[in-house]
Symmetry: C2
Amino acid sequence: MAKIPIPIRGPAISAFDPWAPSAGRMRQLLTVDERARLAVMSSIARFKKGETIYLEGDPAEAIFNINTGVAEAYKIASDGREHITAFLFADDLVGLSAEGRYTNSAKAITAVTAYRLPITLLRSQLSKDAELDFHVICKLCEELRQAQRHAFLLSEKRAVTKLAMFLQLIEQLHIAKGQQIAEIPLPMDRSHIGRYIGITLEAVGRAFRALTTRGIIKLRDRGHVRIVDRDAFDKIAGDPPVLPAIELASRD
Amino acid sequence: MAKIPIPIRGPAISAFDPWAPSAGRMRQLLTVDERARLAVMSSIARFKKGETIYLEGDPAEAIFNINTGVAEAYKIASDGREHITAFLFADDLVGLSAEGRYTNSAKAITAVTAYRLPITLLRSQLSKDAELDFHVICKLCEELRQAQRHAFLLSEKRAVTKLAMFLQLIEQLHIAKGQQIAEIPLPMDRSHIGRYIGITLEAVGRAFRALTTRGIIKLRDRGHVRIVDRDAFDKIAGDPPVLPAIELASRD
DNA sequence: CGGCCGGTTGAGTACAATCAATTCTGGTGG
DNA sequence: CCACCAGAATTGATTGTACTCAACCGGCCG
């Protein structure tokens, strides 16, 4: 293995601060120093498209910090169907466990590079560094918020509503990361979307078409959507979660 | 306000340790010392049945630690329907926020007493006490696991499956807390269950009846179920998450 | 006694699942 | 540059399940 030619800055965690306004932007929580300290205890893992990162029930020896690419966390239903728990992007943490065992499986959707953090090392660091702990707490709050929103999405019955909420989710993720985008990129395929929002891939397709023919969205290709009619879109997806600026203005 | 006559031991957090086997039992994570320290910075809040604890979008000034009773966290859908994000029992933390605003609402299902922890005080404590931080991290992992399991449940389509998974959820919660029970107590009504598992209350009733007539469960009254046919039950609900004892035996 | 709340039952409808066939797309090699 | 191929996506016809709306039941409390 040759050394990585690009400069390595170490693991990264970005999230909203649960308790301080941040103008709708996620911040990089870790300091340069923290990232360096985490870097020395971590190795870099590479996964090919479709490759398994870990399996549910395996001994949880490490957590992963996605660097590039997209991964999925998933669970297998009793009838064999695969339910996607979360899509994981850069700066996300993966490897949730309980009692020393992973509580879900994970695999790469695109090619993925990630920092692999052995939990033994991480844990000893956590018991020393309250600052790092606090950042992990922030990230977990963020993941919890996402998981609840996912459940909220799944509680909807109409396929178009689910799809619209999903698109809103992905869009806001990019906005929160500071990327102004006219188009929503969809690195996952129709079946991934279906397994995430709890409908079949055929229903996903029909929902896309329904939104397209109604002039609400426009597909450039498989992986790029544009929201044409924002009002109609928001009426289907529901208002996006409180944007601080709007919130503060309308309140009091 | 008279002083509380019963001895106060202070806030409590119980969860699985994410990284150490614990024989399927949740532990009380906080030490006597930590609980005392948290107690001095907290006040006791009492909520009547149905009373609102906080509303989505409100400034997040405190988090709550349920002491007695049952509460619900919920979100309102665009069509006005209420989706229950989580049922909250003793030792649970509630008050998830982002950017200083609550990201869901919460209200009491039964009469509730809770410790109210102002986040300003809590946060200053968190930046000092790595041990406390670690315990909060454990609890958040636990909540995240629950939220993902909830989403998994919601991704099922058949009402009987959803209900069975829900009952399994509640049962395991009691087992994890060390209470051996022959009967599953349901402190919430049919409409709460429906709002949690994403079906109408009529469908909840029909699912209960379906399981009853098939001889799988038995209702003592509105609020107490007994699982009669465990095999049939598990076949519908899916195998319960890895129980460490079984897991270790069947592995290697 | 009457009203209310939680719960049950029933008939008709709407929506997505299913299964199967077909088209589209992007990538490959000749 | 084109022909070809495999995987992804679309379309269509049918079926099943839960939703809707409405009526009804039973206990509890004033």
